[in-house]
């Protein structure tokens, strides 16, 4: 028991040391922790209902409304707190969808090789060239802009990067001795793929998926700014768009909501980049 606990402790210290040695990771995780806490405790921290329309239109930031109110009298600070939930949720789910799709397609392609690989690779090549943002925009415009649609569409159109990474991983892992021995003792190919190749090659995809969260949040914000966000949600992109009309009299609406986007995207971006540095010790050691 004691040995186990010690090993756990050593692992935790080791992890902390790695995090501490990579500046991006450190800053990113701190930022993200703050954002997640704010989003989690939104109902307690928000002074007003984010949908409630007050009589104080365009009240500047002050003691009554921390970050002011918007053109319809909604409290900007409360909206921001709930907007964090929307952004993070959509970002994480969309990136997860693209992570799973990319891992499966890339894994199949790189592990099975042969004809399947040629077909899938060409498929990936073609998909890489499609103007993703416009495709998303078109689909959301046609099929409606519910949150589910937005997440699905972002996820289904952005998996290519993950597929390329996973394919390379699978191609290198399949040459390892232990994979060859598994094959020779008759373990099924699909089992090797799911039990050994994917778990051992997943790390770069995790790093990339973290970066994809950033991308998904930006895409969602862009859609919302174009009026294609879910109208039943508080969304930072919609707030920026709303604030655009009040830029002169209510600068705080767009400024704070946009700033929230920047900070959140930056947090995931830094973490993803930091994870990439963990991957390549060369980058880590020699500064």
């Amino acid at each position: 028991m004691n040995v186990k606990r010690n090993r756990m402790r050593a692992r935790v210290t080791n992890t902390l040391q790695v995090i501490n040695s990579i500046t991006q990771l450190k800053i990113g995780l701190c930022l993200l922790a703050v954002i997640i806490l704010l989003a989690l405790f939104a109902p307690f921290l928000a002074v007003y209902d984010p949908f409630a329309l007050n009589d104080d239109l365009l009240a500047p930031p002050g003691s009554q409304y921390l970050l002011g109110t918007d053109g319809l009298g909604r409290d900007v600070f409360s909206e921001l707190l709930y907007g964090a939930r929307t952004s993070i949720f959509i970002g994480v789910v969309a990136a997860a969808i693209s992570g799973v799709l990319g891992t499966l397609i890339g894994g199949l392609s790189g592990f099975y090789r042969g004809k399947l690989d040629s077909v899938l690779s060409e498929f990936v090549n073609v998909f890489l060239m499609l103007p993703t943002f416009f495709l998303i925009l078109l689909i959301v415009a046609l099929f409606g802009s519910s949150m589910l649609n937005v997440m699905l569409v972002i996820g289904v159109t952005t998996w290519t990067g993950n597929a390329v990474l996973m394919r390379a991983q699978a191609m290198s892992l399949r040459e390892r001795t232990y994979v060859k021995s598994l094959q020779s003792i008759g373990v099924s190919k699909f089992k090797i793929l799911t039990k050994h190749i994917i778990p051992n090659g997943i790390f770069p995809i995790i790093a990339n998926t973290t970066m994809n969260i950033s991308g998904a949040i930006l895409t969602e914000a862009g859609l919302s700014f174009l009026g294609l966000g879910d109208p039943n949600l508080v969304s930072w992109g919609q707030m920026v768009f709303h604030g655009k009309s009040y830029l002169v009299n209510g600068w705080w609406i767009s400024t704070f909501s946009g700033f929230a986007i920047v900070v959140t995207v930056l947090a995931f971006y830094l973490i993803g980049d930091g994870l990439n540095h963990v991957l390549s010790p060369k980058l880590r050691d020699i500064k």
Binding site: S21, R284, D285, I286, K287
Partner: protein, 319 residues
């Protein structure tokens, strides 16, 4: 005066929070027209040693101390201008990965001519080209190589290009850093033979870095045995092959199969390289040494010169 005299050369790599002693207090001489083989397993610091001699280590992470006297001039303290003037005219180098020794997007002739003009500043285009064609012929390459790109040549051909490049300005010292390791045995033998003929004709001294004791045995006069950044034994090849003094050298020689004569048992050396970021309390080889004594683990052996002129750093050697 020796052509090259290395004195107490030390290289420390500073990486994040560690200091790695890659080369530790090494001294030896290279005479005119000498040929010295530096052998050791990978990670023994032999390549670092070569890069330090040439002052090619990145100053940000490598700290080099000691003296490298080339014709009496300390290369380590020479100013940049004069160092650049010595490079390639006095000493040239052939690296291990010859395939990547030249820029992939420039033609070989273009690069060689450009390098030629670094030191032959007044040479015309035609003169540069003539010299390069002459060099290519010298290493038995066809003239068409001049207009080819590096990736169009085989490993052996690129190795010859690298050798031709190194001989461009008739250097006095040639350093071959694992220059033939990546080649097949036949090509390797051929190229080594050619190099030895060329150096006799052109009066060149050679330092040959390799992990292959047999290459040293067939092509060098002297051998330096390195281990974990330390020079363990240095002397004439014929003396050391016949009677190795250091237990590590013995181990190295035992791990080579003999082609002729009795088939002796091949014996590897147990264990692996020590952590170079920690200074050992005694002999660096102590924990792998089959004939270790208690003093080996507490006292660092001092370099001694034996009767046949060889240097050895070991408590038990020569007894």
């Amino acid at each position: 005066m020796p052509l090259l005299s290395i004195q107490n050369l030390q290289v420390k790599y500073r990486v994040k929070n560690k200091e790695i002693h890659a080369v530790n207090n090494i001294s030896f001489d290279v005479e005119q027209q000498d040929s010295v083989g530096i052998v050791g397993e990978s990670g023994s610091g032999k390549s670092t040693l070569a890069m330090a001699l040439l002052r090619l280590l990145p100053e940000r992470i490598a700290e080099v101390s000691g003296e490298v006297l080339f014709a009496g001039e300390n290369l380590l303290t020479l100013d940049d201008e004069r160092l650049k003037a010595r490079r390639w005219t006095e000493m040239a180098v052939v690296f291990q990965k010859s395939m990547s020794a030249l820029s992939p997007v420039h033609k070989i002739g273009y690069q060689m001519a450009d390098i030629y003009k670094v030191h032959a500043k007044t040479a015309t285009k035609e003169q540069a080209k003539a010299r390069i064609l002459e060099l290519l012929e010298m290493v038995n390459l066809p003239a068409r190589v001049y207009t080819m790109y590096p990736h169009e040549l085989s490993g052996g051909m690129m190795q010859r290009v690298s050798i031709a490049l190194s001989l461009m300005h008739n250097p006095k010292l040639l350093i071959l850093d694992e220059a033939t390791t990546a080649l097949d045995v036949v090509t390797q033998g051929q190229i080594l033979k050619e190099i030895m003929q060329l150096e006799e004709r052109l009066n060149i001294a050679r330092i040959m870095i390799t992990h292959d004791m047999s290459v040293v045995a067939t092509t060098c006069k002297k051998v330096a045995v390195m281990y974990a950044g330390n020079l363990l034994e240095f002397g004439l090849v014929k003396d050391i092959i016949a009677a190795p003094e250091h237990p590590y050298t013995k181990g190295l020689l035992q791990s080579i199969p003999a082609l002729k004569g009795e088939r002796g048992e091949l014996i590897g050396i147990a264990g692996s390289l020590p952590d170079l970021s920690k200074s050992p309390s005694g002999c660096i080889f102590a924990d792998r040494c089959p004939s270790r004594k208690p003093t080996c683990e507490t006292e660092t052996p001092i370099r001694r010169t034996l009767a046949d002129g060889r240097m050895v750093a070991c408590h038990i050697a020569g007894s």
